[in-house]
């Protein structure tokens, strides 16, 4: 097995060794320190992380599609270059996260196979269509904004490789939100039609963005355990409330409005509140019945198949070079 030295491999242990491992794990979590790949970890911790990190990786990879779709139609060369850089970042973020997931003992190929086979989940947000150029603004501002809100606390996740990947991702992500804000601001200050286009995009992306934080706390069965393990630091509703508070301020600068007349700051709880969200829709989209699920998976499958010859050619070339090298070495030894 490659990289066995660096990866986490569940081993057959005696009950005494397991108990010692659990005690060590508990101590590290209690100290708010970090678990590293070769440490003993509970099977459920490994499983939870593998699910979360691989889903996160898949989201980055599928998340390239709504925006890549607009690269050829960006309104200027500058916007095209920015969008390309952003989509390239998303690819990079997917790769950082697949690497982190691999340290848990799952191969990247297996994860990618699961995604293509429709067995793996990814963020429901990417199953909505990007209909106009203003959607590039709304995705950057709202979707990346919500992602950042969610990801900043994950930089302190108890699993070392995941936290380190998130630090890198958060550093790169901040430009994503700013460029989206800028697109909306320019449209908002443009013609009445452009302003309307910006408002329409915000109207469509607002609720799906809020749902990115996951189901309400009382309907989020895994949250409690994830928080006990220091993977999650704040609950879904807590992060959603913070996000709404930030958006309320920023939308004023944009000269636009949020499509929610029930937003208010609750003086008693000191938290922002928002109108009801359609959780039936969320579960439908997550279950594969959203507007673009089939299209996104089909595109990913085609990209994977279309790239097969490149992967094979590179491997064949590497094999050939190695054969040449070893023949040369043998000749040298013989001489």
């Amino acid at each position: 097995m490659a990289a066995q030295n660096l990866q986490s491999v569940p081993a057959e242990l005696t009950p005494e060794e397991d108990a010692a491992g659990q005690a060590h794990f508990d101590r590290i979590i209690a100290e708010d320190s970090r678990i590293e790949p070769r440490d003993w970890m509970p099977a459920a911790y490994r499983k939870t992380l593998l699910r979360q990190v691989s889903q996160h990786a898949h989201s980055e990879i599928i998340g390239m599609q709504p925006e890549a779709n607009w690269i050829s139609r960006a309104p200027s060369l500058k916007r095209k270059a920015i969008l390309m850089a952003k989509v390239q970042d998303e690819a990079g973020h997917g790769l950082y996260l697949y690497s982190a997931a691999e340290t848990l003992g799952q191969s990247r190929d297996k994860m990618m196979d699961d995604l293509i086979a429709g067995k793996a989940r990814y963020s429901s947000i990417f199953n909505y269509p990007a209909l106009t150029w203003a959607d590039m603004g709304a995705i950057g501002w709202l979707v990346d904004g919500a992602a950042i809100c969610n990801q900043v606390p994950l930089c302190r996740a108890s699993y070392g490789p995941y936290g380190r990947a998130m630090v890198r991702i958060c550093k790169e992500e901040s430009f994503h939100q700013r460029q989206g804000f800028e697109i909306l601001l320019e449209l908002s200050n443009g013609t009445p039609e452009q302003k309307q286009m910006a408002q329409d995009a915000v109207n469509r992306w607002y609720a799906p963005a809020l749902m990115m934080f996951g189901p309400p706390d009382d309907d989020s069965p895994n949250s409690k355990q994830s928080m006990a393990w220091n993977i999650k630091r704040f609950s879904n509703d807590e992060l959603r409330s913070r996000f709404v508070g930030m958006m309320v301020e920023q939308v004023r600068v944009l000269g636009l409005t949020l499509p929610d007349d029930q937003i208010r700051f609750n003086e008693d709880t000191r938290k922002w509140e928002h109108g009801p969200l359609d959780w039936d829709e969320f579960h439908e989209v997550l279950a594969g019945r959203g507007p673009c699920n089939a299209q996104r998976l089909e595109r990913r499958r085609a990209a994977h198949d279309d790239g097969a010859w490149v992967r094979e050619a590179a491997a064949a070339y590497a094999d050939k070079q190695r054969a040449k090298q070893s023949a040369k070495q043998q000749k040298e030894y013989a001489a």
Binding site: A3, N5, E36, A85, G92, A165, Y317
Partner: protein, 135 residues
């Protein structure tokens, strides 16, 4: 090697590597539940490499992350695209992940405990010189 793609050398030119390419076969790391053979992977599966980046002259190479590549030249290129998109580095090392030997986390105590009780190895152990200048 050209700093920003568009190289005049072919994609996997050996001239990019100033050392013999490590002889890493593109092995797969079998998932624990996958059993001994991983037969659904074809030969296009690429090996795992660890990436080390020197952020500027005078500093050490520091581990940045890992990636998959069929050979050292491609690993270097992938590392450039993946870990230095914003001028994070002036030099990159790539090492086949299975070439790295790591200490065993379980032997933490016995492996690392030797400095314990040896605080005379630190300058702070020597207190009589306090107040003496340039010492």
């Amino acid at each position: 090697m050209s700093p920003h793609g568009n190289p005049d050398a072919p994609a996997s030119s050996a001239t990019e590597i100033n050392r013999e390419a490590p002889n890493a076969s593109p092995k797969v790391e079998a998932a624990p539940e996958a059993g001994p053979a991983v037969d659904h992977h074809d030969r296009s599966t690429w090996g795992l490499w660890e990436v080390f980046v020197r952020s500027s002259r005078g500093l050490s190479h520091v581990h940045a992350g890992s990636l998959h590549a069929p050979d050292a030249a491609m690993a270097l290129r992938n590392a450039r695209d993946l870990y230095t998109r914003r001028n994070e580095g002036v030099s990159i090392w790539v090492v086949p992940a299975d070439a790295i030997a790591a200490s065993d986390p379980d032997s933490k105590g016995s492996f690392f405990e030797s400095p314990q009780g040896k605080d005379y190895r630190h300058a702070t152990y020597y207190t009589k010189s306090e107040g003496v200048k340039h010492l």
